[in-house]
């Protein structure tokens, strides 16, 4: 075991898979010589060469489009889109081509592309470096959508994604690249060194796609969340003094309905939290599933904590970001509603 932050864990996932499988290639803006703006690919080009770690032009549609063609020709491309906010020029290639190729060719053609992309706010990135567009991708049949919340899961899930024959959009919450974040911007940053999930095996392992994790067991309330807000939820439950069960969805699609449903049947109360905007968001799907599966167990309406339905504002980051205060308020709202 080694001590890793999320950046090192993600880099290690690519290193391990590239070392085992010569068909794995990495492409994206600044990923080669420089090693990526977040350093996730640092050293990979020196180790695996310029034909396997490819510096691409500023052309997200081109990166994803050519990655698809490489995948059709037997490679296993890992494409980096530098910020999730910049994925949209490649959106048609993801939705119309990558997601549908296997289906439309009745299984004769497929392309096992993994798209890595940093997402989320809390880093003073303004509206073009803070978005959480995962709900746009979970809506598309034919791709898998993943968002880890810690180094151990990040490495295990990324290896599973790269080795999967299905295309995966892999969101990396950049606020927690270097350490968990409890949602209170006034407290000093902490590193992954003191977190149990910062202990990461150096070699090959996978975290299976399609399984949620109970991060913290509890009996009073279930908080279903993922990404940065996993840590916010744990901290907020403590502040609120509520015995909350916190579930990290991790794999947004395919979704582990069983773990979610079992928990809410047990606690009878459910709060769903994500950074992304609320209306039509991924949380609405979670709420519908919980409502259907747990209706007779619910003691309060399913509630949501989410980003406001505005673009992500630069100046009002901490009014916008669903941090600890909003999470505590959300917990109280669900707890105080009588059945």
């Amino acid at each position: 075991m080694a001590q890793m932050n999320m950046i090192e864990a993600i880099r290690s996932a690519m290193d391990v898979t590239m070392n085992r499988d010569p068909s794995v290639v990495v492409l994206g803006q600044d990923v080669g010589y420089f090693g990526g703006v977040f350093r996730c690919t640092d050293g990979l080009q020196r180790k695996y060469g310029e034909h396997r770690v490819i510096d691409a032009p500023i052309s997200e549609g081109g990166i994803i489009g050519t990655a698809i063609g490489m995948g059709v020709n037997g490679l296993r491309p890992v494409a980096e889109i530098q910020f999730a906010d910049y994925i949209y020029p490649g959106f048609d290639q993801i939705v119309s081509e990558l997601a549908k190729l296997r289906y439309r060719s009745a299984g004769d053609f497929f392309s096992p592309v993994t798209i890595r992309t940093p997402c989320g706010g809390g880093i003073r990135g303004g509206q073009t470096h803070s978005q959480s567009p995962e709900g746009i991708f979970t809506h598309v049949s034919g791709i898998k959508t993943i968002m880890p919340s810690n180094p151990y899961d990040a490495k295990g899930l990324l290896i599973a994604a790269i080795e999967s024959d299905d295309p995966v959009v892999f969101f990396e919450p950049k606020r927690i690249y270097n350490g968990p974040f409890d949602g209170d911007p006034d407290r000093p940053a902490v590193s992954w060194a003191s977190h149990p999930k910062g202990e990461v095996p150096e070699g090959h392992y996978t975290v299976p796609i399609g399984l949620a994790e109970v991060v913290q067991p509890g009996s009073a309330l279930t908080i279903i969340t993922y990404g940065t807000l996993v840590h916010v939820a744990v901290a907020a439950a403590k502040t609120a003094g509520v015995d909350a069960e916190v579930i990290d969805v991790r794999s947004l699609s395919p979704l582990d309905e069983t773990t979610l449903t079992d928990s809410v049947k047990k606690t009878g109360r459910c709060l769903i939290a994500h950074e992304a905007t609320r209306f039509g968001g991924y949380g609405a799907e979670l709420a519908a599933i919980i409502q259907k599966n747990c209706f007779y167990h619910l003691e309060a309406p399913v509630s949501r904590v989410a980003g406001w339905d505005t673009p992500y504002p630069h100046a009002f980051e901490w009014q916008y970001f669903p941090g600890k205060k909003r999470m505590v308020a959300g917990i109280r709202r669900v707890m105080e509603t009588a059945a």
Binding site: S59, G65, G74, A106
Partner: protein
């Protein structure tokens, strides 16, 4: 010049009721364009993007440096494939008009492109076709009955009923799955070609788009990546003058030839007579050879004419002169090859008519066989359960439960 800004609204030279007018087409006489070495520098061969490479002359002889000197037997085979494409299209069009398939697209007037390029490429080279490349599928071994079954969405449909008619694919023939989204396959071809080079293989990729689709971002992404990495790929623009009702000027063809689109990136462009099988074959061999020797991509513009409607859903008499094709200066590719072979003493009208009859029978027999696997109205039918297959290699549980739910509703109206 005027002293204020103004818009240029591109307009075709003729609309319904007007005299067809192709004076806008820059033509070169057969044999007039020099053939450079495949190792030539791009800046030294820019002339290829503005001239027009032609081999078959008005007098039906083959002329000039691009003459590939193909054996008469090979040319007869090429003629046969082009004719098969045309006879097949004609029959499938009628079948659609009878309401027996939902949709069809014919390649009328553009058959030389798919057949000549099919002949010029190696089987290991991967083709990323557009929707008017059915000749490529035929040339690469797809049976007519399989193409028909795809159009019928029946039990033998290679797409299992998931795609609109004509969206074929052939894994064994190395022809990629056709997408209804235009130009998306262009960057796939470049990526495929890059992978070929990364793996140290010498197979190349080729892709096709129409003049209209050159305006898509994917066209430019593909050219950019092909140029940067010198990918071994042939990028074809089939300029058939019309994108549904938009003439080629609407995609910018009025300004400069589509073949010149790559010059700013350092990609050589060749403008070729797309109705001249010999010329198309010859420029494709040149571009493939260049790509295989590390010379990178070539952009080929095929100047041709869409002889028919865009699709069975289209009526071109609403936006272009009915007799425009008859006035197209580059003629009909099948007629031109036929006359060349006759001129050389290797073909005759009688042989030609007999071949058309033979191919018509072949198509008819295939249609009879195809219907045995199911039609739109008569079984056998595809099992609707299969609609849940192939969404993923590793399907999520929710698809399995939706499959069960769909079957319940089909079987008992969803009761219980």
């Amino acid at each position: 010049m005027a002293n204020k800004s103004r818009l240029h609204i591109p307009r075709p030279t003729a609309r319904p009721g007007d005299e067809p007018d192709f004076s806008y087409l820059d033509l070169s006489p057969a044999g007039a364009v020099d053939k450079p070495s495949v190792a030539a520098r791009v800046r030294d061969i820019e002339y290829l993007s503005s001239g027009l490479v032609r081999v078959l002359d008005e007098d039906h002889t083959a002329k000039g440096p691009w003459n590939p000197d193909l054996d008469p037997e090979k040319l007869q085979i090429a003629l046969r494939w082009m004719l098969l494409n045309r006879v097949f299209d004609k029959r499938m069009w009628q079948i659609q008009r009878q309401g027996r398939i939902s949709f069809y697209m014919e390649a009328l007037g553009e058959e030389a492109i798919s057949i000549a390029q099919g002949m010029a490429l190696r089987h290991g080279d991967m083709c990323f076709p557009s929707y008017r490349n059915q000749g490529l599928f035929m040339y690469r071994g797809m049976k007519l009955v399989d193409m028909m079954c795809q159009c019928l969405s029946n039990t033998r449909d290679m797409c299992k009923g998931r795609q609109l008619p004509i969206m074929y694919h052939s894994k064994s023939g190395n022809v990629f799955s056709i997408s209804g989204n235009l130009a998306t396959q262009y960057p796939h071809a470049v990526g495929w070609a890059m992978a070929s080079a990364i793996k140290g293989e010498d197979n190349i990729a080729a892709s096709w788009v129409g003049d209209g689709s050159t305006a898509e971002a994917d066209f430019h992404h593909a050219l950019t990546f092909a140029a940067i990495y010198q990918a071994p790929v042939i990028l074809n623009v089939v300029n058939n003058q019309w994108a549904i009702s938009s003439f080629q000027g609407t995609a910018g063809g009025d300004r400069r030839a589509f073949a010149a689109r790559g010059l700013g990136l350092g990609i050589p462009g060749i403008r070729v007579d797309g109705n001249d099988l010999l010329a198309v074959y010859s420029v494709t061999v040149w571009a493939a050879d260049r790509a295989r020797r590390g010379g990178g991509p070539t952009l080929i513009e095929h100047v041709t004419y869409r002889g028919g409607a865009h699709s069975t859903s289209d009526d071109p008499s609403k936006y272009r002169p009915k007799d425009e094709w008859e006035h197209f200066p580059l003629g009909d590719p099948i007629e031109r090859l036929k006359q060349h072979l006759i001129n050389e003493g290797h073909w005759s009208d009688a042989k030609h008519d007999a071949l058309v009859d033979e191919l018509t029978d072949e198509v008819l027999a295939a249609w009879k066989e195809a219907q045995k696997y199911g039609t739109m109205n008569e079984g056998p039918f595809l099992n609707p359960e299969t609609m849940f297959d192939d969404v993923y290699a590793d399907p999520p549980r929710r698809l399995e439960s939706q499959r069960r739910r769909m079957l319940e509703i089909e079987q008992n109206g969803g009761e219980q």
